[in-house]
């Protein structure tokens, strides 16, 4: 587990002072320090999740770099979605689910009992696997979040938020003539972009995406991926995906989960060309399921 010699992102940093004592005490899960990555505001420390007596996630520690895309990959049931749902506490809604460890955003513990989960979810938005627009008009879909959080002072403000959110989601041009028609009438890809617009409208800092393209065709997928790449400029994005190619295409950082454990995390390029761990290697090359 000596990552020092193998951190490809920073060979020069290592060669500069080979005898320097590592500043951080060596922990079991060693974090990659990628000088190119943005600083992390979202950090997790030894997060474990239990469903009743069954432990679903084991001591996951990872830093999520700001304003970039981080991808969680791994076989089904590896805990990546569970972990994602811990971040905006969607697991709270599941009976018998218990989370231990720390998840902090700007140093603030998200599991602090004093923290209001409603406020948290306004800061950390979520996009789901299946496009799930409300059975309401396109406008109402996007306006709903700002409305319940009281973000728009008047009707004009609200309209502006809706328009800019739809624009950011790259959907405005396609739907501007039918804002008041039901959102369920859109195509699958458009519906998913509507869901993204709906999440953006609240002005989150982090957007969680749980396999956002799994129900879409390749073209719609490409459009969403392009959108994710654009959104990266303003938002911290975490995406869980079954498609390794998708993780490779859209993310800057990739984390590999297996059997509830975080096996490896690092710059996407490195994970997909030269993973350190054999399990990662076997998974991404298609040797284990």
């Amino acid at each position: 587990m000596t990552t020092d010699t193998f951190s490809a992102g920073a060979p020069f940093a290592m060669s500069a002072s080979p005898t320097a004592v590592p500043a951080e005490p060596v922990k079991e899960t060693v974090r990659t320090i990628d000088p190119a990555a943005n600083p992390a505001r979202l950090r997790t420390d030894d997060v474990s999740v239990f469903y009743g007596d069954k432990q679903a996630l084991f001591d996951v520690s990872i830093d999520i770099p700001e304003k970039s895309v981080s991808a969680f990959i791994g076989p089904s049931g590896c805990g990546k979605s569970t972990f994602l749902r811990c971040i905006n506490r969607m697991n709270d809604t599941i009976e018998g689910c218990r989370v231990s460890g720390d998840i902090t955003l700007d140093g603030e513990n998200l599991y602090d009992p004093r923290l209001d989960v409603v406020e948290l979810r306004a800061r950390i938005g979520m996009v789901f696997q299946k496009p799930n627009p409300f059975p309401k008009s396109i406008f109402e879909n996007v306006a709903y979040g700002p409305r319940i959080h009281g973000l728009a002072g008047n009707k004009a403000d609200l309209e502006e938020i809706v328009e800019s959110s739809l624009k950011k989601a790259g959907l405005f041009e396609e739907v501007k003539d039918r804002l008041h028609q039901p959102g369920t009438g859109l195509s699958g890809g458009q519906q998913q972009r509507l869901c993204i617009a709906r999440a953006i409208a609240v002005g989150p800092e982090v957007i969680l995406m749980d396999e956002p393209c799994s129900a879409l065709d390749p073209i719609a997928t490409a459009v969403i991926e392009e959108l994710i790449d654009e959104l990266r400029e303003n938002y911290t994005i975490i995406i869980v995906t079954h498609s390794m190619q998708q993780a490779a295409r859209v993310s800057q950082k990739t984390a590999f989960f297996h059997l509830g454990k975080l096996i490896e995390e690092g710059p996407t390029e490195e994970i997909f060309t030269n993973p350190r761990e054999k399990r990662t290697q076997d998974y991404i090359t298609g040797r284990i399921g």
Binding site: A8, S15, A248, F272, Q281, T285, G286, R287
Partner: protein, 233 residues
């Protein structure tokens, strides 16, 4: 170690690609060997056979390129698989170049007819040929075995080939100065020596690919660290 892909056909394709590289390596080794033999023994027939055999090497490179492109298009390889495919393309290219060097050397040897070649001329050539052949063999083995230490060895030994070429150059220069009638012959030999020196360079390239295949890193940028590591302990 290799538990194999879930998709057997993919596994087969990768194995086939690696096998093709080894086969091509064998062909190239043989061509190089024949070329040096033809040169040293002034064996015209062998030389012509060697020139003719190069066609097969070219075809082989073509085949490997096609296989690699097909794997990339259909399987989207990542990690070691990706490295194998990319490295295979490079290695096939280098092998083809080595094949060309062998062909060029063999063709040149057919032009020695009627020219006198003293025995001492040959010694240097034979020595250099052996060294280049050994480098090529070692590089191909390193690639096949994904052995980074072997690859480093090839890389480090390239200086021997270069040094031998420099001494060969001086030697032939001396012969030419001794007797101007030697000039034609020695110039031919000098070109052949240059070819062998280029073979060494290509062997080094193959070794670099072997190192990349084994570690995912560039040998050229790592070599300083590796050298220091060897010195420090």
């Amino acid at each position: 170690m290799n538990s194999g892909h879930i998709v057997t056909a993919y596994n087969d394709e990768l194995t086939e690609l690696a096998r093709a590289i080894t086969e091509m390596g064998g062909l190239v080794e043989k061509a190089l060997n024949n070329a040096v033999e033809a040169l040293v023994r002034a064996d015209n027939e062998l030389a012509m056979a060697t020139v003719a055999a190069d066609k097969k090497i070219d075809a082989m490179q073509h085949l490997i390129d096609e296989q690699a492109v097909s794997i990339i298009a259909r399987r989207q390889p990542v990690a070691t698989d990706l490295r194998l495919v990319i490295a295979s393309i490079h290695v096939a290219n280098d092998l083809e170049r080595i094949g060309d060097m062998a062909k060029s050397t063999a063709r040149r040897s057919t032009q020695f007819e009627g020219l006198t070649m003293s025995v001492q001329f040959k010694n240097g050539m034979r020595h250099m040929g052996e060294l280049a052949q050994r480098q090529v063999k070692l590089a191909i083995d390193a690639f096949a075995a994904k052995d980074k230490d072997m690859a480093v060895e090839v890389f480090e030994r390239d200086t021997d080939v270069d040094a031998l070429y420099v001494s060969l150059f001086r030697e032939l220069l001396t012969y030419m100065m001794e007797d101007p009638r030697n000039i034609t012959m020695c110039t031919h030999l000098l070109f052949c020596g240059k070819n062998l020196e280029r073979v060494g360079d290509h062997a080094t390239n193959i070794a670099e690919q072997a190192y990349f295949l084994a570690t995912g890193k560039s040998l050229v940028s790592d070599i300083e660290d590796l050298r220091r590591e060897k010195l420090v302990p």
